[in-house]
Symmetry: C2
Subunit: 461 residues, 2 copies
C-alpha cells in the first residue's frame, strides 16, 4: 500500500515551483487588496485562506481564495458595498460578481481561479454574522496545527475522495469538503489511519477533535439524522460534515473497506465513464425494459447550490406522486447546466383499470365512505371485507398510464422547488423511452445519461 | 324495526305442525337407537342435540342430530365399532358413513338430514376425549336456559347471520355456529340487544357468560389473534367463536352497524348473486384490465373441513410467491366441489428485465455480495449506493411474466397444503384471462366467478 500512496502523492502533490508560483500570485493579490483598501480608505485587510494557504491543494485544484476582513462593527450594507468595490478594483475587467450570503468577485488570474470574498473579522467563531466569517477561523485552526507531513496525508485523502466521486461540499455533490479532509487527518494523524477508522464507520459516527462534548447522546440529538458528525473545532454547534449525504457517506465507508481489502491506484484515479453512443443508449434502454422519462427545461437563473436542492425536491415530489398512484419508480436522478433534467425510470408504467380503495378500520363508522362509493359510476365491486377486516371497494383508476400521471403532476406542481416550478411552468419537454436518445446530441447530457445507465462505484469501473 | 323482525320471524320460524313433525321423527329415531342398543347389548343411550332439541332451527334447516352416548370407560376402538354398528342398523341401507374425529352415519329420513353420532358421555366437559363429546354438554347448557321467547330471538340472529353470508362454523365458511348464536342471545337477552352491542365490537371482543375470567388481559393472551372470544360456558378453555375469521367478524359488525342505521328485510333475505353470462364475464374482465388466472384441478378426496384450509394455505403461498418476485395480486379466492379452483387476479403481471438487488446495510462486509454480482452476466448496473446508503446492483430479472412465475411455483409447490400439492402434481390446468370464460360452462363455477367479479356485502346487492 505504501508504494501506491507514494505514487499517488507524486502525481497529486504540486511541485515546489508550482507552490511558489501560487504563493507569489496570492501575495501579489494580497498586496493589491491591501493597497486598494488604503487607497479607498477602507478599514480592511486581506487573508489567504483555503487549501492554498495550507499547502493542501491538489495539483488539479487551481484555486486561490482571498478573504477581505472587515471590522465587526461595520454595518452589513457598508461591508457589502466597500468589499465589492475593493474586490472589483483588484479583479479589474476580468472580475465577475457572484452571490452567496454576501456578494463576492471571481476572476481568472495567472492560471488560477481567484475568489475575492469580503467578510467580517469576528473574534469569536461562535458569533459570526454570516457563514463566510467562519473561514478565517478555519484557516487559523488548520494552519497552526498542520505540519508539512500531515499536509501530504491530506492530499492523499482528498485525492481518494476525488476518486470516489465524493469530494466537494457543494449541494450539487453533497460530499466531503477540503476542510473536512483536513480535520479527519488532524484527528487520525495519517491517511492510512483515517481510511482504517472510516472502514468501520456506521451512520451517525462522531468525530470530536477538541472533545467539546462529553456526552455522545447529546451530539446525536443535536445533529440528528446526519450520517457523519464532525464537530467543527472553531464552533462546537456546527457539524463540519453536515453536507455529506447518506449516499456519499456510505460510498466513502465502502471505498475504505474495499481499499483496505485490496489497495489499488484505481481508487485514486478511476476510469472515466464511457460515453455511450446513441445506439448504445437505445440498446440498453431496450434491454432494461423500463419506461424512462426525461423532463427537460431551461434552468432557472440561480446558483447550483440553490438549483440542485430544488431539483432534488422536485424529483422527490414527482417520485412520491407517481408511487402514490401505483407507478413504481426504479431509479431517478437530476442534472443541470443551462438546461435542467429530471430523469425518472419506471418499473411499472401501466396499471389496470381496477383499483382497490380501502375504507377505515372497523371501529370507524363508514357511512359516508360507503355512500360515496356505492353510487359511484366508477365502482367495479364492493363494498366487501378484505381478509384483514377492512372495508374495500374496487373502483375505476383515473390514471392507468404513468405519462398521464406525470403530465398531471407537472401541471399541479405540488411540493416542487419554487424556481424549478416557475421554470417548468414557462415550458418543458418530456422525452420518453427511445426519444431520450435525441437528448444525447448534447455531449454533456450524453455523459449524464451514460453515467446513469452504467452507474457503478468509480473504483469498480 | 319491530315490524321487520315480526315479519322475519313469520318467515323463518317453523310452524307448530313442522315442529311436531321433527319431534316425532326424532323421538322415533331415539327409540330405534335405544332398542337397537338393547338388542345388540350395547351400553349406550340416544340424545337429541342441536337446534332440533332446542327449537332454534330455521325453517330452511332440516337437520336432526342424534348423539349416541357411551360410558366413559369404554375403549375408543369399541366405541367406534359398536357406535357404528348401532348407527348403521338404525339408518339402514340409506345410511352413509362419514368421518370426523370418529366415524358417524348420515341418512335422509322423513325429509330431514339425520346425523347419528357416537360419542362419550363425559361428566366433566373439560375432560372430553374428542370434540363431539362436548355436544351433549352444550345441549344441556342451552336447553336449561333457553325460554321459547329467547328461542325466537335466536332464530332472528341465525337468519341475520345467514343473510350476511356468515352463518356456519365449518372451515369452508369460517362463520358463526348455531351454538354461538344461542350463546350471544343468552348473553344479550334479545336480537336487538345483541345487534346493538355487536355494532360497537372491535377485534378481540370478549363475551364471558359465566364470568369465568376476572382478568380480560388473561383472556386476550389465551386466545390471541382471535377477533371474537366467546368463552364456552361448558369449557372455559375453549373459544366458542374460534372459527370466526377476521373477515366474517368485520362483516357481522358492519352488518350490525348498517342495520342499526336503517333496518331492512334485505339484511335477512338478500338478493341472490346474479349469474353473469359468458359475455358478461368477458366484458367485466376486459373492463378490469387485470390478469386473472384460475388453477383448476381434481379435488383431493378429503372432507371440506380439511380441503378448504389447504386450498387457502396454497392460495396464500402462491400470492406470497408471486408478490415476492414483484407481481402484485389484487385479490384471490378458492372454491371447490368435485373440482378445486384457486383464483388469482394480478394487478401487475409483466415486469421489466431490470431489477434492483439491494445489498446488506453498511455495517456488513459485502465482499461476497459484490463479487457474486460483479461477475454476473445478468448485471445491468452497479454496484452503487442508493440514497439510503445501501449497496445496490441492477440485474436481470429471471421472470418477467407472471405466468412463468406461476408455473414455476406450481412445480415447486413450496408451503402448499399437502393433499392439494399432491392433487396439483397429478395434473392441473391454468386458465387465463378470457380463457376463464370456458370454465363458466359449469353452472356452479359460473356462480363462483360471478360472485367473485361482482363481490358485494349481501345487504348491498
Amino acid at each position: 500500500m505504501d508504494e501506491i500512496l507514494k505514487a499517488v502523492l507524486k502525481r497529486v502533490r504540486p511541485s515546489e515551483a508550482e507552490r511558489k508560483r501560487l504563493k507569489k500570485v496570492a501575495n501579489m493579490l494580497i498586496e493589491r487588496v491591501n493597497s486598494t483598501c488604503d487607497m479607498l480608505n477602507v478599514p480592511a485587510r486581506a487573508m489567504l485562506v483555503g487549501s492554498g494557504a495550507r499547502s493542501t491543494w491538489l495539483r488539479s485544484e487551481r484555486d486561490i481564495d482571498i478573504f477581505i476582513l472587515f471590522p465587526e462593527d461595520l454595518p452589513r450594507e457598508e461591508l457589502e458595498k466597500k468589499g465589492l468595490a475593493v474586490a472589483r478594483k483588484v479583479a479589474g475587467k476580468k472580475g465577475k460578481e457572484r452571490f452567496a450570503e454576501h456578494p463576492y468577485v471571481t476572476a481568472k488570474f495567472g492560471g488560477f481561479e481567484i475568489d475575492l470574498v469580503p467578510c467580517y473579522d469576528v473574534a469569536d467563531a461562535g458569533k459570526i454574522k454570516s457563514a463566510v466569517d467562519r473561514t478565517p477561523h478555519h484557516n487559523r485552526y488548520i494552519s497552526e496545527r498542520l505540519t508539512p507531513e500531515l499536509a501530504d496525508e491530506v492530499l492523499l485523502l482528498k485525492q481518494f475522495m476525488l476518486g470516489a466521486g465524493i469530494y466537494g461540499a457543494e449541494l450539487k455533490l453533497q460530499g466531503f469538503s477540503g476542510y473536512l479532509c483536513e480535520l479527519l487527518i488532524l484527528y487520525h494523524r495519517s491517511f492510512k489511519e483515517a481510511i482504517s477508522a472510516a472502514s468501520k464507520w456506521t451512520p451517525s459516527t462522531i468525530v470530536d477533535l477538541e472533545g467539546s462534548y462529553p456526552d455522545q447522546a447529546e451530539v446525536r440529538a443535536l445533529f440528528e439524522g446526519q450520517p457523519l458528525i464532525v464537530i467543527d473545532p472553531v464552533d462546537a454547534n456546527r457539524n463540519a460534515a453536515a453536507a455529506v449525504s447518506m449516499q456519499n457517506f456510505a460510498t466513502f465507508v465502502r471505498a475504505c473497506q474495499d481499499f483496505m481489502r485490496k489497495s489499488n491506484m484505481r481508487f485514486f484515479f478511476p476510469r472515466r465513464v464511457k460515453l455511450l453512443s446513441k445506439r448504445g443508449v437505445e440498446k440498453i434502454l431496450r434491454l432494461r425494459g423500463t419506461r424512462l422519462f426525461c423532463i427537460v427545461f431551461k434552468s432557472p437563473d440561480i446558483v447550483p447550490d440553490l438549483l440542485y436542492p430544488q431539483l432534488r425536491k422536485t424529483e422527490r415530489a414527482l417520485v412520491a406522486g407517481l408511487e402514490r398512484v401505483g407507478f413504481e419508480v426504479l431509479r431517478s436522478d437530476v442534472w443541470a447546466n443551462a438546461k435542467s433534467i429530471i430523469l425518472l425510470e419506471l418499473t411499472i408504467a401501466e396499471l389496470p383499470k381496477v383499483q382497490v380503495h380501502l375504507g377505515p378500520p372497523i371501529k370507524v363508522d363508514v357511512g359516508d365512505f360507503v355512500r360515496k362509493h356505492l353510487k359511484s359510476k366508477r365502482k367495479f365491486a364492493g363494498p366487501f371485507m378484505d381478509s384483514s377486516g377492512r372495508l374495500a371497494f374496487e373502483v375505476e383508476r383515473r390514471q392507468t398510464d404513468a405519462r398521464q400521471a406525470l403530465e398531471r403532476a407537472l401541471v399541479e406542481r405540488t411540493a416542487f422547488g419554487r424556481h424549478v416550478a416557475e421554470a417548468l411552468a414557462k415550458g418543458h419537454e418530456v422525452y420518453e423511452g427511445k426519444g431520450v436518445v435525441k437528448l444525447c446530441g448534447d455531449r454533456k447530457i450524453g455523459e449524464f445519461i451514460s453515467e446513469y445507465l452504467t452507474r457503478c462505484l468509480p473504483w469498480y469501473r
